[in-house]
């Protein structure tokens, strides 16, 4: 017992000392490694020129290489709305490229550089999709993009620095449209999301790919601009599928499609049809002998709170139901004839499918 402890502890101590000495040298090394990471990453970025140039829509964006033969991951946008787009590599070489696959739900597209007959085979520097990183709040990052179309020809794209502020779901909009991507994104403190920056690369300070810089978005609550990137962990697989030709566009994901997810019908509640952006959460009908009927819920009850979360619409209600787990208590506050009524129900076990 004590022998084991000794071994473990001395090894621990040695590791700590090693770490400490690494950190002592790291100040200088860090500056060098950041510089090395930048020059390592920049050749993997491309400038994309396509449709646009009218009504304030820029005709340029950014992408990054994900294969040696010229597959490029980029953002799905109006810039790609052309038969072919023009792609300029870091060394100034210009190629035509066409869209191989796209998934608007992910704001993702994959392009493939087209070679003419007299072009030799490409051997391009690229990001390895098998070696992407993940980040959490506080991770120091670099953002690479051709924002504002500053870089031309063989000029390298712009680099920004910052930290990940949060990894969270986007509550943001683009014009009056909501963001299609539903997963959690990296929110960063650098002003990465500028004109033409979408499709750029977010990396850690060592140059490991973390995410794809998103479009210019506004926070739907504060109306401030959001700087975010979609994690590569969500994009890697679809990109590989698009390259191999096995990608199938998914219909718009409906949370209700998830069989393990709770919805109001599990409690015998039927809500009014969700017809407008914020349909008030009125109960339409209650199934007889259901959990809801047992606690006395009635048609025309307006659901105000679910487990202390304010419910502004049928949609938000359905979202909140998604957080429930078997064994939880579901507490509803409803308004009925100008009175607030609180009811509680036990969340039933779901049958595994």
């Amino acid at each position: 017992m004590s022998l084991n402890n000794k071994l473990v502890n001395s090894q621990l101590a040695r590791n700590f000392l090693l770490l400490a000495s690494i950190l002592l040298f790291s100040q200088n090394a860090q500056a060098q490694s950041t510089s090395a990471a930048i020059s390592n990453v920049q050749p993997r970025l491309v400038k994309i020129f396509g449709a646009g140039g009218v009504r304030g829509l820029h005709a340029y964006s950014t992408g990054f290489l994900v294969s040696s033969e010229g597959h490029i991951a980029t953002v799905w946008s109006h810039v790609l709305d052309a038969d072919e787009v023009s792609v300029v590599l870091n060394d100034g070489r210009r190629f035509m490229a066409s869209v191989l696959g796209a998934e608007p739900q992910l704001d993702l597209a994959v392009l493939k550089i087209r070679l003419s007959e007299d072009d030799s085979e490409l051997d391009l520097p690229h990001f390895n999709l098998k070696q992407v990183g993940t980040a959490s709040a506080g991770t120091r990052i670099l953002g690479f993009s051709n924002m504002f179309n500053v870089a031309a020809g063989d000029e390298p794209v712009s680099v920004l620095h910052g930290v990940v502020m949060a990894k969270t779901k986007l509550d943001a909009r683009r014009g009056s449209f909501e963001v299609p991507f539903e997963g959690a994104v990296y929110i960063v403190d650098a002003i990465t999301n500028n004109s033409g920056a979408a499709g750029g690369a977010l990396t850690d300070r060592s140059g490991k790919l973390l995410g794809m810089i998103g479009k210019e978005l506004r926070n739907s609550k504060s109306n401030t601009w959001v700087n975010y990137a979609v994690p590569m962990t969500d994009l890697g697989e679809p990109i590989e599928q698009m390259i191999s030709g096995n990608f199938e566009n998914k219909p718009r994901r409906d949370p209700a499609d998830n069989p393990n997810r709770y919805r109001v019908t599990d409690f015998g509640i039927v809500m009014v049809p969700d017809v407008i952006f914020r349909t008030p959460a009125y109960v339409d009908s209650i199934a007889p002998n259901s959990a809801a009927s047992k606690v006395g819920l009635r048609p025309d009850d307006l659901v105000l709170f679910v487990n202390d979360e304010l419910i502004q619409s049928v949609r938000v209600l359905s979202e909140q139901m998604g957080y429930l787990e078997s064994g939880d208590v579901l507490r509803l506050v409803v308004r009925r004839n100008d009175q607030l009524v609180t009811v509680e129900m036990l969340v039933p076990k779901k049958e595994q499918k």
Partner: protein
């Protein structure tokens, strides 16, 4: 049990040293930042224009108070402005020189000769990812003139930002940073991690987010400013340059000449349409943008090396760059006609809050003499200072003021020892080169290329004598131009310009020693000058003349002459003329 405790303790100590080490890195980096900021902050200037015309930032580069800022910061502030330093004192300042194309201005803070200065760095060494401090007075926040510091990294180097209107405010070969650049930062310094001045912050990419930092700020490189430094100190409105040719990228990705002016020196040296530009000013050309970048950092009139390929044959030439603008375009217009849209340059211009130090009290009485108006100049006062300094150095060669009579210079042609005689008088000019004789009667006829192929040796001799004996007064125009590399190479020389009846002469003085090295006289615009270079010195009585004159035209040596004797007659006629003029 005990042993476990000890091992536990070891782990704790190890952990403590680990966390201490981490702290040290952070603390040392912070200490370093504090030291750098402390070192450079005293040189950072808060600039306030007269009236409520906003303001910006600047940085002092000499103990006498010369400071760099943006042209657009002081464009509307008049000749005098107020400048705050972090000692809390508000100083008077006067305009010195402006570069509207490159958006640079030099002002001079007044009242001290021991101003704290920033050390100039080398912006060609700046790399993407380097730390960069932007300092200045964004939003005019600093009521105590303590500069605001924004810290970021270099996002790009050798960037090109197109002009904001009529070829003005063009940022070439500039530095892009993610350090916040906001309205009021304009004209302020960009320092590297060592606190060396690497650029002047001037604009940013602003679009839909309003006129605040959006992640891309641009600084004019300090190396460009270095090239223009003496031009700006000359008190002039300085101009940028054009090659006299346009370049384009052809199908094969080569940068080729798209069009060329027949008047351009590059054309006279052999450059033609479709020739490939290989290198310019010592830098290999890979793109059109890059060519524009390089061209943009040099002043009008500089001679620079150009390598081009014409039908597979490589040529190396030196070309003098033409001005980008006409003089009238550079002279600020007092008021824009109504209905003519004001160019809205893409740079921060402070609007709020209003400038509290701009009470329009007129120029301070004590410094009023330090501003002299003249067409083509931001402040002629500083030009006169430079002229006086260079001409003062000439007195080392002896007193030439009393020998305005006929000059007879005799010697031998270096190559074949053939006799050479040069006669320079106000009635006529003559030259004997071996068995060839050339004369020009001074009866108002324009000078010709005599001897043919010299570029106008007789005219050059005439100008030389006028310059030596009467100095500035003999010419219709006379001013200090700035500095440039002599013949596109070395040494670096200060240049005086004189004009007389359409002939322009450039006079060259060693930038460091003040030594008089030679001159170029041009008979008419857009032809090759007669270039005279001096070698050695020889005493004739109490005066010194060059031991050897090298006469060149279009870069080719026409003749070299070793001087053996000089008879410089006292002048009487000239003096009387001068007196008549004075009456």
């Amino acid at each position: 049990m005990n042993r476990q405790l000890i091992f536990g303790l070891i782990a704790i100590i190890a952990w403590a040293s680990f966390s201490q080490a981490a702290d040290d890195v952070v603390i040392n980096a912070q200490k370093r930042r504090i030291q750098v900021i402390k070192k450079v902050a005293p040189s950072v200037v808060a600039v306030f224009g007269r009236g409520n015309l906003g303001g910006g930032s600047g940085v002092i580069i000499s103990p006498e108070g010369y400071a760099l800022t943006n042209f657009h910061v002081i464009a509307s502030s008049g000749a005098f402005m107020k400048c705050g330093l972090n000692d809390g004192v508000l100083y008077d300042a006067v305009i010195v020189g402006i570069d509207p194309t490159g958006d640079v201005a030099i002002i001079k803070l007044l009242g001290r000769d021991d101003f704290p200065v920033a050390k100039l760095g080398d912006s060609d060494q700046v790399k993407v990812g380097d730390w960069a401090y932007a300092m200045g007075n964004p939003f005019l926040l600093a009521t105590d003139f303590q500069p605001t510091v924004t810290y970021g990294i270099v996002s790009g180097v050798h960037r090109y930002q197109p002009p904001a209107g009529n070829n003005f405010l063009e940022y070439t070969d500039c530095i892009q940073v993610d350090s916040s650049i906001n309205p009021g930062n304009s004209g302020g310094p960009l320092f590297n991690d060592d606190g060396d001045l690497i650029g002047i912050n001037g604009r940013g990419s602003f679009e839909k987010r309003g006129r605040v930092n959006s992640g891309a700020g641009y600084a004019i490189s300090i190396n460009q400013i270095q090239y223009f430094m003496d031009h700006l100190l000359s008190g002039r409105i300085v101009d940028h340059a054009t090659l006299g040719a346009t370049v384009a990228t052809d199908n094969e990705g080569r940068v080729v000449v798209g069009g060329i002016l027949e008047q351009a020196e590059a054309f006279r040296r052999g450059l033609r349409v479709d020739d490939e530009i290989v290198s310019f000013a010592g830098r290999t050309i890979r793109s059109t943008n890059q060519f524009k970048n390089i061209l943009g950092i040099y002043p009008k009139g500089w001679k620079l090396p150009l390598v081009y390929r014409h039908e597979e044959e490589r040529h190396e030439i030196f070309v003098r760059l033409r001005g980008l603008h006409r003089q009238s375009e550079l002279t600020p217009k007092p008021r824009r006609r109504r209905g003519q849209p004001q160019p809205k340059p893409d740079q921060p211009k402070p609007q709020n809050p209003t400038n509290p130090h701009g009470a329009d009290t007129g120029p301070p009485e004590k410094f009023k003499h330090m501003h002299v108006k003249k067409t083509g100049f931001a402040n002629y006062y500083f030009n006169k200072l430079k002229q006086d300094k260079l001409l003062g150095g000439l007195t080392k060669l002896g007193d030439f003021s009393k020998v305005s009579g006929t000059w007879k210079l005799t010697g031998k042609r270096t190559a074949d020892k053939a006799p050479v005689e040069l006669t320079i008088s106000s009635k006529g000019l003559g030259a004997r080169l071996g068995e060839d004789y050339f004369v020009h009667a001074m009866n108002g006829e324009p000078f010709a290329d005599e001897p043919a192929g010299s570029g106008g040796l007789l005219a050059a001799m005439h100008h030389w004598k006028l310059f030596m004996t009467q100095e500035a007064d003999a010419f219709t125009e006379f001013y200090y131009l700035g500095s440039e590399p002599l013949d596109g190479q070395s040494p670096h020389v200060d240049v005086l310009i004189s004009e007389l009846t359409g002939n322009e002469t450039r006079w060259y003085f060693h930038h460091k020693t003040g030594e008089f090295l030679g001159f170029d006289t041009q008979l008419i615009d857009d032809v090759d000058e007669c270039e005279i270079r001096f070698k050695g010195l020889k005493a004739f009585d109490s005066r010194q003349l060059p031991a050897q004159l090298i006469i060149r035209n279009g870069g080719q040596v026409f003749a070299a002459v070793d001087l053996e004797a000089a008879s410089l007659a006292a002048g009487t006629v000239k003096k009387k003329e001068a007196e008549k003029k004075a009456e």
